[in-house]
């Protein structure tokens, strides 16, 4: 154990010498390089997916800038400082969600926004993406691990309230990400395997009973369509049929940049948002997607290293959850577009068009950087 500790310290010393400026700015070099690579690639793909729309590109690029700024600012905050203010943030976030629920502004048919005209317009559910894991991490870090049943119960209530509020908006994708964010903290905190397994085992008979005794035929139909979108080719199935054709026709090396036919003939709806991976698959082929997945894998790997090296329990739990939730984004989005998973609105991180999601994601990486770069003062004591 002792030798291991020494080794980490010494490698950190090497790092410090190599990148003192970044270190002082509380920026993690490997993460920054990977994020900038993704940003560049994103604009590249988006240019094609949006039909060479420069306005859109400029918007996305400025969102990137705003996100990076937010990331740098958050990286300056000490994890201790965050832990102190997280509970308050959580309460404020839930209140805002209630406000949205009661009198939210209606955008795109779903009520997700708080809009004070001329002043500000935002989605409170986005804040919850970071506040949720931070709150559970704050709560569990004060308890003994692995968490006792009582503490698990309280954590589940803390997760459940915003989850239900966001499901009601209705925004299934975001609520799922928030559920994952909270659940991964419990998982990282060493939630007992037998509890995890027994909950999963209990879910099966409950679901079966619901199906046979409580659900109406139309509800069953809706779930069947949800699980198998291709049974509804005029609705969501349309997107999946077209996105599969787009990805599949890309082959190993793709048709080439700007040469995809499916996306450019308006076959593919939402080609620049949730379904952008289909454009990549069509134009850059299996090789292109594998390259993207490699970058994601490196980001996740770095996140897990930060988790393992974090010195406070709060930092470990939060970093682990943020990293794993990031993977959920990737897996759910690509799984959905390639027809493996049901369609829920989850964007492909850093590639899909959308400023709000970009800022949130980069802020989450800011938290990771903060956790990693504020460890020195302990080592120096």
């Amino acid at each position: 154990m002792k030798s291991n500790f020494d080794r980490i310290l010494s490698s950190e010393d090497v790092m410090r010498r190599r990148a003192t400026l970044l270190q002082r700015m509380h920026i993690d070099g490997p993460l920054l390089i990977l994020l900038l690579t993704l940003a560049a690639g994103s604009l590249f793909v988006l240019y094609s997916a949006s039909g060479k729309n420069w306005d859109l590109l400029i918007k996305q690029a400025s969102s990137f800038g705003l996100g990076l700024l937010s990331m740098v600012v958050i990286a300056q905050l000490e994890p201790r400082f965050m832990a102190r203010w997280v509970p308050l943030g959580y309460v404020a976030g839930v209140l805002l969600l209630v406000v949205v629920d009661v009198m939210g502004h209606n955008a795109m048919g779903a009520t997700r926004w708080i809009n004070i005209p001329g002043v500000i317009r935002f989605q409170p559910s986005e804040f919850m993406k970071i506040l949720m894991p931070a709150t559970i991490a704050w709560y569990l870090s004060k308890r003994t691990l692995p968490p006792q049943l009582k503490h698990v119960g309280i954590s589940l209530i803390l997760i459940g309230v915003p989850f239900v509020l966001i499901v009601r908006q209705p925004d299934l994708g975001t609520s799922l990400l928030i559920l994952a964010g909270g659940a991964f903290v419990l998982f990282m905190g060493g939630l007992r395997w037998r509890w995890i397994i027994s909950v999963l085992a209990a879910a099966v008979p409950v679901a079966v009973a619901m199906w046979f005794f409580f659900m109406h035929d139309y509800q069953k139909q809706r779930i069947l369509t949800f699980l198998d979108p291709e049974s509804d080719p005029l609705g969501t199935g349309w997107n999946i049929i077209q996105s599969k054709a787009a990805i599949g026709s890309g082959g190993v090396f793709g048709k080439g940049w700007l040469l995809g036919t499916q996306s450019h003939l308006d076959f593919l709806p939402e080609s620049h948002t949730d379904f952008i991976i289909a454009v990549m698959g069509e134009e850059f082929g299996l090789v292109g997607i594998c390259a993207l997945l490699l970058i994601y894998l490196l980001l996740i790997g770095r996140g897990l290293v930060i988790t393992a090296q974090a010195q406070t329990l709060f930092g470990k739990l939060l970093a682990g959850s943020l990293t794993m939730t990031f993977f959920v984004y990737v897996f759910v989005n690509i799984g959905m577009v390639s027809g493996l998973l049901p369609v829920v609105g989850v964007p492909l991180p850093f590639i899909s068009y959308g400023g709000t999601s970009l800022v949130t994601l980069l802020s989450a990486f800011g938290v990771l950087m903060s956790i990693h770069t504020h460890r020195k003062w302990i080592a120096q004591v």
Binding site: M1, T144, L145, P146, F187, M188, G189, G190, D232, P233, L234, G235, G237, W238, I241, Q242, K244, A245, A246, I247, G248, S249, G250, G251, V252, T261, Q262, L265, D266, F267, G281, E282, G285, L286, I289, C290, L293, Y296, L297, I300, G301, L304, T307, A308, L313, K316, L317, G320, T323, M324, F327, F331, I334, G335, S338, G339, L340
Partner: protein
């Protein structure tokens, strides 16, 4: 103190988290492997398949609209069916410069710039890429030929055969079955976009609207492979649509025609019900209109003509027409008085020709200025004596009167399946306080007793209130659909039956109503002359303009459109009712003189066989001995 424990905990926590990190990493790698395997499957193993689909050919999903359910009358006569009709449709993505193609269409078919504006509007409503949008309906042979000749100039334009609603009975059922029309922008927002993806028309009124989900059916689809020019190469997959359900109406076309004949071109409304089931046998609102005009889009001029006509053909008098029920409500008021115990069958009231409230000097007049002398219940109904009912209403009071009338369906929607039925108005103390911010005056109760004042009812409500008297308080909501694909409609919200303390009260009122038709001094005795069965009835008059105190209704001074509406309700055979009829003749003036003969003709049409005798299923010939038995 706690410091060492914390450090120890920290070590253990770190180990725990590290184990989970390792597990998480394995999970991430494994799931990324799954994704790569999926992509390998799509992009390498299925490459040829997808590449063929996307390179030269395109996959299209084409909706197949379901065939709309047919509507029949109770004898199986077709009331609404679907006919093939040719329309012109255009696919924006295949037409290239589509506004220019529209110009060509207008030129080829020699249409007007106004038509082009409509086409452009329709084109902008397109919903999905590569979905053909119909822009012109009911093409003639000549137009089809012109399009065919000029096809080379019209890429993306095609002539399509579709089924379009047709109403072979024309105006007969316009107010009950309603009509269909093109889906408008507002409806588009509330419709299931998938189920309606191949449908361009929707029920707008009547049965077509009320049973829209049942009639429409479930959309089917075809996954087809087309070449770059849009020609279908092959069908990859097909799911058949589920056709809409057929509806058999309870309406009888023969009775419907008889009722229209009986109205004889006058403006008015007729409802005929089977009191035992609530089935509507005839429903007439005159004048009517041809529903076929609306199906493929009515011209603005034709619509304006219908809308602005002084005779209001689009107005559904049966469901939306609100009239003070007048004396037709007296049987129901009599039931209320008997059940509340304020009158009995033998209690009498002296009628000097008017009624005065204690301490008021306003005279509430009987229609017969000379008065009827001592009046009991039977006579009061037979003679339609207003004084008796002023007295009854005064003793009953507004609260009880309002409650009882509510039980008879006044002030609420009574039908099971009729679109946009008006609930009418049954005033109460609370209603007046809420809407007028005024206390209730006793005089207002009096005039309610003879069906005047604030009270308003639709002809359908009058028929239903009469049906309740006929079948002794059993509630069957009036309905138009007898069966939907063989199944009877279900009433999810049944109204409780009217239960009287003494059920023989029903018979007493029924007897009074028989005296109206068959008694020597019955107000409508002329309408019952020669009847093969006994009729129970009640006439009524709905004032259009109020008459001042001390003034007399003088028809010569009143404009035709301001004359009273004539009302009559009745049922037959009186002792075993098979049909209830309510008739309103607009500006007809006399309930017993104008509306009663209409009721009689409709009853004859329903109850009598071709040889003029009562149909055997409705009982034998009437016993004429009873007719004068209880005369004074």
């Amino acid at each position: 103190m706690t410091q060492p424990i914390r450090i120890k905990d920290h070590e253990k926590d770190a180990r725990l988290v590290r184990a989970r990190v390792v597990f998480g990493a394995i999970m991430v790698v494994a799931l990324l492997g799954v994704l790569i395997a999926r992509l390998y499957f799509l992009q390498v193993i299925q490459y040829d398949y997808h590449s063929t689909l996307s390179e030269n050919n395109r996959v299209h999903v084409q909706p197949i609209p379901p065939t709309r359910g047919l509507i029949f009358d109770r004898n199986g006569v077709v009331v609404a069916d679907n006919r093939p009709s040719f329309s012109l449709s255009m696919t924006r993505e295949r037409s290239g410069d589509w506004p220019q193609i529209l110009d060509v269409i207008v030129e080829v078919l020699q249409l007007t710039p106004e038509d082009r504006v409509i086409f452009e509007k329709r084109m902008k409503q397109g919903r999905r890429p590569f979905e053909p949008v119909p822009i012109l309906f009911e093409l003639t042979e000549e137009q089809i030929a012109r399009i065919a000749v000029n096809q080379f100039r019209l890429p993306g334009v095609e002539v399509v055969a579709q089924l379009v609603r047709h109403y072979p009975q024309g105006p007969h059922f316009a107010h009950s079955v309603g009509y269909m029309g093109r889906i408008n922008e507002k409806e588009l927002k509330s419709l299931d976009p998938v189920n309606y993806s191949g449908t361009h028309h929707i029920g707008k009124t009547g049965i077509e609207r009320f049973y829209e989900p049942e009639l429409h059916g479930q959309v089917g689809y075809e996954e087809v492979e087309t070449n770059a020019r849009g020609r279908v190469l092959r069908v990859l997959k097909r799911t058949d649509p589920v056709p809409g359900k057929d509806i058999v109406l309870s309406l009888d076309i023969k009775l419907q025609e008889a009722a229209e004949m009986a109205l004889g071109g006058r403006r008015g409304a007729v409802v005929a019900l089977d009191p035992n089931t609530g089935e509507v046998l005839a429903m007439v609102s005159q004048p009517s209109f041809d529903p076929n005009l609306f199906v493929t889009g009515i011209s603005f001029k034709a619509y304006a003509e219908l809308r602005d006509s002084i005779d209001r053909p689009l107005f559904n008098r049966v469901l939306r027409g609100l009239y003070p029920p007048g004396s037709t409500i007296k049987p129901a008021v009599a039931i209320a008085g008997l059940d509340a115990g304020v009158v009995t069958a033998s209690s009498r009231v002296f009628d000097p020709g008017y009624y005065m409230l204690p301490n008021y000097d306003h005279k509430y007049r009987n229609w017969n200025r000379t008065g009827d002398g001592y009046v009991d219940l039977d006579t009061a109904i037979m003679r339609s004596n207003d004084t008796y009912f002023y007295d009854l209403a005064h003793k009953l009071g507004i609260d009880r009167l309002s409650t009882y009338m509510g039980k008879f369906g006044l002030g609420q929607k009574v039908s099971l399946d009729m679109f946009e039925e008006s609930p009418g108005l049954m005033p109460s103390r609370e209603w007046k306080r809420a809407t007028r911010r005024q206390a209730w005056f006793p005089g207002e109760t009096l005039i309610l007793g003879i069906g005047q004042g604030y009270m308003q009812a639709t002809p359908l409500q009058l028929a239903q209130a009469t049906a309740l008297v006929a079948n002794k308080g059993i509630w069957n909501r009036p309905h138009l659909a007898r069966t939907i694909e063989g199944e009877k409609p279900v009433d999810d919200n049944p109204i409780p039956n009217i239960v009287l303390r003494d059920p023989s009260d029903w018979t007493k009122v029924n007897h009074g109503m028989q005296q109206v038709m068959h008694g020597a001094r019955g107000t409508a005795r002329k309408a019952a002359i020669g009847a093969q069965y006994r009729i129970a009835g009640k006439s009524g008059t709905a004032q259009v303009v109020a008459i001042k105190q001390g003034e007399k209704y003088d028809r010569s001074k009143v404009q035709e459109r301001h004359r009273d509406h004539a009302l009559f309700v009745g049922f037959a055979p009186a002792d075993d009712p098979k049909i209830v009829v309510a008739v309103m003749v607009e500006n007809g003036e006399s309930g017993s003189g104008v509306a009663a003969p209409v009721v009689r003709q409709i009853m004859d049409a329903w109850l009598l066989a071709d040889d003029g005798r009562l149909k055997p299923e409705y009982g034998g010939p009437p016993s004429s001995t009873e007719v004068t038995a209880s005369e004074e």
